[in-house]
């Protein structure tokens, strides 16, 4: 019985999943190819112009002069986020209000299946889809890093004067660039934590959609609500980052726990373990030191929120009367 429900949801999901997967698979590769066309040190004066906006950035702007930093920005790209969110919202909103709107819920629930079974089968298929989309994203990045090379400025030829230890650069020689494979500069493993964080954001938006769908009657309204909440959360996040006075708003936005850029920096530069829940800083300020949430800590926050929303959705759906199709 459960297998049949899984099959039903697979039939309904595969086309949307395939289209999102194609975008998510190829977009990171194309983006990395674009990044690999430039020698990044040339952007230093440009980055300097944006110093005033550094407070909005999760990482120091200097990070954007490194390949690992620029590739890490893929996780903030609207195309990638949009593909993930399209899948999460479309599937999440469909489970109750979608079926009710199409009039299929009545016939489905007149079968000897529980509402929890229905929700669970839908959840398994959709969550697997989101995790696989995350896999596609990482594979796209891996392929991008492995197959592209980038021009890197080589140091000018120099001569060390014997006995003096003084090195003299040849002033008549022009600086040369050499094509270096990106795989020598960036490790794809660096992006695993960020990808998991992206998957967790997808799961949270999916759970939010299921929660809205569980009490709603119209799918279009469910989608509208979810997009509204998403925009509101983003505005809260931007506001919280703007000034120290509004920092208290940060815990009210789930974007506070979506930190893929910061993860790239923390793992790549500061050597934080990929699966750390938290870190007590070595530069102890006071007896206990400084507490800092780790990559897995942020991801866990998103997953706990998702679990809470999904559980409430299950309770609401279990208790509600099913209205007749309009």
């Amino acid at each position: 019985m459960f297998r049949l429900l899984l099959k039903k949801y697979l039939i309904e999901t595969w086309l949307l999943w395939t289209s999102c997967a194609l975008v998510i698979l190829f977009f990171p590769w194309i983006r990395i190819w674009t990044v690999s066309q430039f020698e990044l040190s040339g952007f230093a004066p440009l980055i300097e112009q944006f110093k005033a906006f550094e407070k909005f950035s999760p990482v120091p702007l200097a990070q954007f002069l490194t390949y690992e930093g620029v590739i890490g920005l893929t996780f903030a790209e609207p195309i990638l986020l949009l593909s993930f969110l399209t899948f999460a919202i479309a599937r999440g909103s469909d489970v109750v209000s979608g079926e009710l709107g199409r009039g299929t819920m009545e016939m489905l629930l007149s079968q000897p299946i529980t509402r929890l079974q229905l929700l669970l089968a839908h959840g398994i298929v959709s969550l697997t889809g989101i995790v696989l989309l995350g896999g596609c994203c990482w594979i796209g990045m891996y392929a991008g890093i492995q197959t592209n090379s980038t021009p890197v400025l080589q140091p000018k030829p120099s001569v060390t004067i014997p006995g003096t230890g003084i090195t003299v650069t040849n002033p008549f020689e022009e600086a040369k660039t050499a094509q270096i494979p990106l795989s020598q500069l960036v490790s794809p493993k660096l992006y695993i934590a960020s990808t998991i964080n992206l998957v967790a954001l997808g799961i949270l938006v999916f759970s939010l959609s299921v929660f809205m769908s569980s009490w709603d009657l119209y799918r279009w309204r469910t989608i509208g609500f979810v997009i509204g909440v998403y925009i509101l959360q983003f505005l809260l996040f931007v506001l919280a980052k703007s000034t120290p006075r509004t920092r208290f708003l940060m815990p009210l936005s789930f974007f506070g726990a979506y930190q893929p850029d910061w993860m790239v920096q923390a793992i790549g530069r500061e050597g934080m373990p990929m699966f750390a829940f938290f870190r007590i800083s070595d530069q102890a300020q006071g007896f206990l030191g400084t507490f800092e949430i780790g990559p897995l800590g942020y991801t866990t926050i998103l997953l706990i929120l998702s679990f809470i929303l999904y559980s409430i959705a299950a309770i609401v759906f279990h208790r509600r009367d099913l209205p007749a199709p309009s």
């Binding site: 039903k8 039939i11 299929t104 016939m107 007149s110 079968q111 000897p112 199709p325």
Partner: protein, 242 residues
């Protein structure tokens, strides 16, 4: 033991949606092996009654039992003994006709894919077509095949022939009678009085959330030629009185 108990026993069932009272102390019992017609104007409470039997809505008070099983507290067990065809049945649009047929015949404990395929061929259904591209009538036929293949103890049909042409309607009514002969009880909700008169053994007329009249069809068709007028007269007089 169970055979002596009515297959459907509704006892003082009340359902309130905010200020709207959809069912008002409604009581009804249906004996096994009968085709039972449910009549009433729009908003009389027929659909809410059916939905209460399926456990889709929680009763405000009273009880509904199918095969002596509480329809809300033991909803899954009760539903395993029922099959339901909604008015304007909607099936999963992304599925092929055959996939939808397999889904419903396999998900029900008494379902049989072979039986469903046989019924589909009697209804001249093209199962290779995607549900989304089927006409309303074809979808209704597909839903009928899905439901009839389940061979449940209680079959609930809400306006099963509304979207069908007269030839197919005849086949469907024959299939319903065959199900009855195979031991099923049928709860048949319809606005077409002649159809109720033609196939039902008993009927009940609902208005304002309660049963206002129960009819044994034998009593109103002593003369088959007068049949369509007999029930119509009773139906109309029922609402004149109320």
């Amino acid at each position: 033991m169970l055979d002596s108990i009515p297959i459907v026993k509704i006892d003082h069932l009340t359902k309130q949606y905010g200020n709207l009272q959809a069912l008002n102390e409604c009581s009804l019992s249906i004996d096994r092996g009968k085709i039972f017609g449910l009549l009433g104007p729009n908003g009389a409470g027929k659909t809410t009654l059916i939905r209460s039997l399926l456990g889709l809505v929680k009763p405000t008070s009273g009880s509904a039992r199918v095969d002596d099983i509480d329809c809300f507290d033991q909803s899954i067990v009760a539903r395993s003994r029922m099959a339901y065809l909604p008015a304007e049945a909607k099936l999963f649009r992304m599925m092929l006709g055959k996939q939808a047929l397999e889904f419903f015949s396999q998900i029900h404990p008494n379902g049989s894919t072979q039986r469903a395929l046989d019924i589909a061929s009697r209804l001249q259904l093209d199962l290779s077509r995607r549900v989304a591209f089927m006409s309303t009538g074809m979808r209704q036929k597909l839903a009928i095949a899905c439901i009839l293949a389940c061979r449940p103890k209680l079959m609930i049909l809400d306006e099963p022939t509304a979207a069908l042409d007269p030839t197919v309607r005849k086949v469907v009514l024959t299939l319903i009678r065959e199900s009855q002969q195979a031991g099923a009880t049928v709860l048949f909700s319809s606005h077409i009085l002649s159809e109720i008169e033609e196939v039902c053994d008993e009927a009940a007329i609902m208005n304002r959330g309660r049963v206002v009249l129960a009819i044994d069809m034998k009593t109103i068709r002593p003369n088959p030629e007068e049949a369509p007028y007999g029930l119509k007269k009773i139906y109309e007089s029922c609402f004149d009185c109320s």
